[in-house]
């Protein structure tokens, strides 16, 4: 069994079927990227995985254990193993950078504050934000906030990290610093599920790429396959369109 197994997941917003029978897996430390047109359900899949949007069918297994999305305990357990960073860096505006990063370890994992702060400073250093530990989110640029958001997610020591278009709200010159940060995570044994429109980056860091369209996974394969010789015509269309930009 794989580290993360998504089996036949479906989900709807009211009558609108957004995910249909999605099956996908990732081994420990793998980097799996989701690509596909706007509205194809990429964000929804990540939201289902972390328990923000309820699935209407199917199951998710982590390390062989089935996640029960209806149980608070199971959700809390899940969120001890999995973290997410969103497109809109939603840091807690009322807390400074250091507190944003330490709140989960201190209040949820009950770590001593000093220990959590030492670790948080290490993580901030990793994302290049150690000098802004005392700043408040509204004093930071978008790229800086996004890097803090990544540090905050890492502070929970996730085995699986979900990244949803973390660079698409950023100015072009800020994109690189955030991508560099993500690149530095790819060899640490964390399983990464990345939704991104940065095709060059996806191609470089992914072990596998999944193409989504209309709530379904159309094709999964190594980046060379998806970008050079896709099997499905839908993938070919999408990739050629986006690469010709």
């Amino acid at each position: 069994m794989h580290h993360l197994e998504i089996r036949n997941i479906s989900s709807s917003y009211g009558k609108l079927e957004v995910l249909r029978d999605v099956t996908l897996s990732a081994d420990k430390g793998e980097v799996v990227s989701l690509i596909g047109p706007s509205g194809s359900g990429k964000s929804t899949l990540l939201r289902v995985l972390i328990g923000l949007t309820p699935p209407t069918g199917g199951n998710v297994y982590i390390g062989g254990n089935k996640v029960d999305y209806n149980s608070r305990k199971s959700l809390k357990d899940l969120r001890g193993h999995m973290a997410i960073v969103f497109q809109q860096y939603n840091l807690f505006q009322n807390m400074n950078v250091l507190r944003n990063v330490t709140i989960a370890p201190v209040k949820i994992k009950k770590k001593p504050r000093e220990e959590a702060e030492v670790r948080a400073r290490g993580l901030l250093q990793k994302v290049g934000m150690e000098e802004k530990a005392d700043a408040y989110p509204d004093e930071l640029s978008g790229g800086q906030q996004q890097r803090v958001a990544i540090a905050r997610a890492l502070a929970t020591s996730p085995e699986i990290l979900l990244l949803d278009e973390v660079t698409s709200a950023l100015d072009p010159e800020r994109v690189k610093e955030v991508l560099d940060t993500i690149r530095s995570l790819t060899h640490e044994g964390i399983t990464l599920i990345i939704v991104s429109h940065e095709m060059a980056f996806v191609r470089e860091v992914s072990t596998r790429v999944a193409m989504m369209d209309q709530g379904k996974i159309v094709e999964v394969g190594p980046p060379e396959q998806i970008f050079r010789s896709p099997v499905e015509s839908r993938t070919r269309d999408f990739v050629s369109k986006i690469l010709s930009h």
Partner: protein, 224 residues
């Protein structure tokens, strides 16, 4: 006019009046915090609750904000004994003011709850926070920041409004002023001094609330 003001007789009673001012502040604080707890649940019910919770909260607010606080306390004090519940004047006043404040604070806090960004709540949930922790660490600071000004005003209103306790024989500031003026017949002097004490109380209250706001919530509140 040949009335000669005689403040000396009243000033002699200053310690007694200041004691009353302490009681006034106690009533205001108790009603404020009691009301704030009710108001928080009321606001959460109104914004996030199901149909039943929303209806109950709305009914409570409508009922309590459309009748005078004084009438509500009269009902508690004079009507409840018929049902076998006898309340001390102070207890009746406190319950009445807490319920009344709860209704107003539900409305004030609701505006604050609506100001919390959904994305922050979701981020908190994905970090593993419980509902209660989300309220405590993410929602309350936003709420406090947004509603700081109306909240301060409401506290001042409570300091002044608590004077209606005098009607039930509670010896807070106004109650003690009535006692003094009936004894010394120096009403003008007595109530002038009492008015001054009220001003000092509310100015101190507003200033300290502004300081707390700056310190705790980074609100750019004016101290004066």
């Amino acid at each position: 006019m040949n009335y000669t003001f005689q403040f000396a007789a009243v000033l002699e009673e200053l310690p007694y009046l200041l004691g009353g001012a302490v009681v006034t502040l106690q009533i205001a604080f108790a009603s404020f915090w009691g009301g704030a707890v009710i108001g928080l649940f009321g606001a959460l019910a109104k914004v996030y609750g199901g149909v039943v919770a929303r209806r109950i909260a709305a009914g409570y607010v409508t009922l309590l904000t459309n009748t005078p606080a004084l009438v509500q306390i009269f009902l508690l004090y004079y009507a409840l004994p018929d049902a076998g519940i006898l309340l001390e004047p102070m207890t009746a006043v406190l319950i009445g003011l807490v319920l009344n404040a709860g209704a107003y604070l539900t409305e004030i806090l609701r505006a604050g709850v609506l100001s919390v960004r959904r994305s922050e709540i979701e981020a908190a949930a994905t970090l593993g926070m419980s509902q209660l922790q989300i309220v405590r660490y993410v929602m309350l600071p936003h709420i406090a920041k947004t509603i700081y000004a109306p909240l301060s005003n409401f506290f001042v209103w409570l300091v002044l409004g608590s004077s209606l306790a005098a009607l039930f024989g509670v010896e807070e500031l106004t109650g003690r002023a009535i006692n003094i003026s009936t004894a010394n017949l120096r009403s003008i002097e007595t109530f002038t001094i009492v008015a001054a004490i009220y001003i000092v109380l509310t100015v101190i209250a507003s200033a300290s609330l502004a300081l707390v706001g700056r310190w705790a919530f980074r609100v750019k509140a004016k101290v004066f």
